[in-house]
């Protein structure tokens, strides 16, 4: 069964890199994953998205994702520029960066689970810059269980990060995992369990 994940962020936050590290982590766990980013001329700050499919068998379709099972949004404001919930599947899971209380958020009725973390605050503490990708990988692991924290850690260690940069990103994954609040979204209304 293929699970489809769509990641949203802004240029410079590492959305595309997060998709690549996630694909690596999933492959290490024996899964098959493909990740296709969409970007062009965009510079720092412009909306960026990436599509990731994961399955227990090889994946052939190299296409974009239109009905994601999971939305990961690593930037709290990009939803003003793009409809990050466009086309989401029935029963979808949302993994969002933000500090707004869930009750004040406008969320799609078809979503069933929400993972919420103040990723910008964590990133500012760790990196002194709002680079939220690693924090949100931890949040994804916590919210969905689709990938283990250990596999994410190993994938990060295999990446181009070294020394202090690697240590910071490992800490970011960890804190994203620990500090994500996971909520079940009720079927009939916008209330939260």
């Amino acid at each position: 069964m293929t699970t489809e994940i769509r990641l949203h962020g802004r240029g410079g936050q590492g959305t595309v890199m997060a998709a690549g590290i996630l694909a690596q982590a999933l492959a290490e766990e024996g899964k098959w994953a493909i990740a296709i980013p969409t970007f062009g001329f965009e510079r720092r700050g412009a909306p960026v998205s990436a599509f990731l499919r994961v399955d227990d068998k090889p994946i052939r379709s190299l296409t974009n994702i239109y009905h994601p099972d999971v939305i990961v949004c690593i930037d709290p404001t990009v939803s003003r520029a793009v409809d990050i919930f466009a086309g989401i599947a029935e029963g979808a899971t949302l993994v969002l960066a933000g500090r707004k209380p869930p009750g004040e958020m406008t969320l799609p009725l078809s979503a069933r689970r929400l993972g919420l973390v103040d990723a910008v605050a964590i990133a500012m503490e760790l990196f002194k810059r709002p680079i939220t990708n690693s924090v949100m990988l931890g949040a994804l692991a916590r919210t969905t269980g689709i990938v283990s924290l250990a596999a994410l850690r190993r994938a990060m260690e295999d990446s181009h990060f070294r020394d202090a940069g690697l240590a910071q990103n490992l800490a970011a994954i960890e804190r994203g995992y620990d500090e994500t609040q996971v909520l079940a979204l009720k079927e009939s209304c916008h209330a939260y369990a």
């Binding site: 296709i36 296409t63 974009n64």
Partner: protein, 406 residues
């Protein structure tokens, strides 16, 4: 990497990195580069591999693509194994040395990370750049996925350098979907690739060597004595080399399959074609979604198959006719256009192959995936539906533009 000399290992990377890793495995002597979207990360990877010591090549960071290929021509004439990669406008700027390379019989490998041609302005994938140079005498190969990019770039060196071929090879992979598309691939062990490629042979047929002086690229043609004959002699041997490439590449694929366990179809792949009524014909990264669409149609009882074109130049006409002989109609999906024929270039080639054979069947042309546009399952459903109608005699007279309303 050094600790994995004897065994293949799983890695996760995009098509650009896969091409760069294949280049590392092929151990070229000289690599010359100039970055251009969507190829840039490929040459950045190569530069990193050289910096890390994984690739022992001379890296020439030239001031533009014209110089990139000119430098490689010199290196190749001095006996070096050479590689570069380019895309769209970079390929256009490379054109003058590009058209000379096949006639010089220089066995280079150059990846084309395909991109739609300007204008209108765009930076996204499409095959118009590669298709624009389809008649220049380079061998052209198109890849379906990241693993095929990796395997094919290695195999391309063996093809280019084969004594019956001695021609430059373009290995094409689609911008965006393959250049940046990440997946899990098997990286063959360096030692096994060394055994596969064998000792590189210096191209003594055209070499700059003070010990063996020769006139390189002599003046031929004209109406003087022997002029026409000498030019025809060169051209005929070039055409012969091109024709020989089909069989040589098939043998190379068979050997690759034996050594590495991955059996790619060298010319055209037939997918679920036995007992099929219609076929869709694909090229490049759209193929995977096409195969999934065929499976879905089969699940609904439709007898559909797929023909994937891997080797495009020289055109594998016998293999194509053999495949088409199994169906009653075919729908060709092109990712570029032929301005001359109001159809896609692949469509035009399939028509030509058919006319050169006794076989006749209805063809429907589809153009999709231009400038980064997606060719999805839904688009392929339409391809299958239109082609099924064509089998019943209802053939559209002009191409169907799949993304016209996307």
């Amino acid at each position: 990497m050094n600790q994995h000399v004897n065994s293949s290992r799983m890695i996760v990377c995009d098509g650009n990195e896969a091409a760069a890793r294949a280049v590392v495995l092929a151990r070229p002597d000289v690599v010359s580069v100039f970055p251009i979207t969507p190829q840039s990360s490929l040459v950045e990877s190569l530069a990193q591999f050289v910096a890390d010591g994984a690739l022992g090549a001379e890296l020439i960071n030239a001031e533009g693509e014209h110089s990139v290929l000119s430098a490689l021509q010199g290196a190749c004439l001095a006996g070096a194994r050479t590689y570069t990669a380019t895309s769209g406008p970079g390929l256009a700027f490379m054109f003058e040395p590009y058209v000379r390379t096949p006639g010089l019989r220089l066995p280079m490998v150059v990846s084309l990370v395909t991109r739609d041609m300007l204008s209108p302005q765009c930076v996204w994938g499409g095959q118009q750049d590669a298709m624009t140079v389809r008649e220049c005498g380079w061998i052209q190969i198109y890849c379906e996925d990241v693993q095929e990019v990796l395997d094919t770039v290695v195999m391309a060196f063996k093809l280019a350098e084969h004594k019956d071929v001695l021609l430059p090879v373009n290995v094409c992979h689609d911008g965006n979907y393959l250049s940046y598309g990440v997946s899990r691939v098997e990286l063959p062990a360096a030692e096994l690739v060394d055994q596969f490629l064998g000792q590189p042979e210096v191209n003594w047929h055209i070499a700059l060597d003070p010990e063996r002086p020769m006139s390189v690229d002599p003046l031929t043609g004209g109406t003087g004595p022997g002029g026409a004959a000498s030019f025809v002699g060169y051209r005929k041997s070039q055409v012969r080399g091109m024709a020989a490439a089909l069989e040589v590449f098939s043998d190379i694929h068979a050997e690759w399959g034996e050594r590495f366990g991955r059996h790619w179809a060298p010319l055209v792949e037939e997918y679920r074609l036995e007992d099929a009524d219609i076929a869709i014909i694909t090229i490049g990264s759209m193929t995977g979604a096409g195969k999934d669409a065929v499976d879905a149609a089969r699940d609904c009882g439709q007898k559909v198959g797929l023909i994937k074109v891997k080797t495009y130049r020289p055109f594998p006409r016998e293999a194509m006719i053999a495949a088409l002989g199994k169906v009653k109609a075919a729908g060709i999906v092109d990712r570029s256009v032929s301005f001359a024929w109001d159809c896609g270039p692949l469509h035009q080639d399939v028509m030509t192959a058919l006319f050169a054979s006794p076989l006749r069947l209805p063809l429907v042309g589809f153009i999709g995936g231009l400038a980064g546009a997606d060719i999805t399952a839904t688009h392929f459903e339409r391809v299958i539906a239109e082609t099924t109608r064509a089998a019943g005699g209802n053939v559209p007279s002009s191409p169907v533009w799949l993304n016209e309303h996307d």
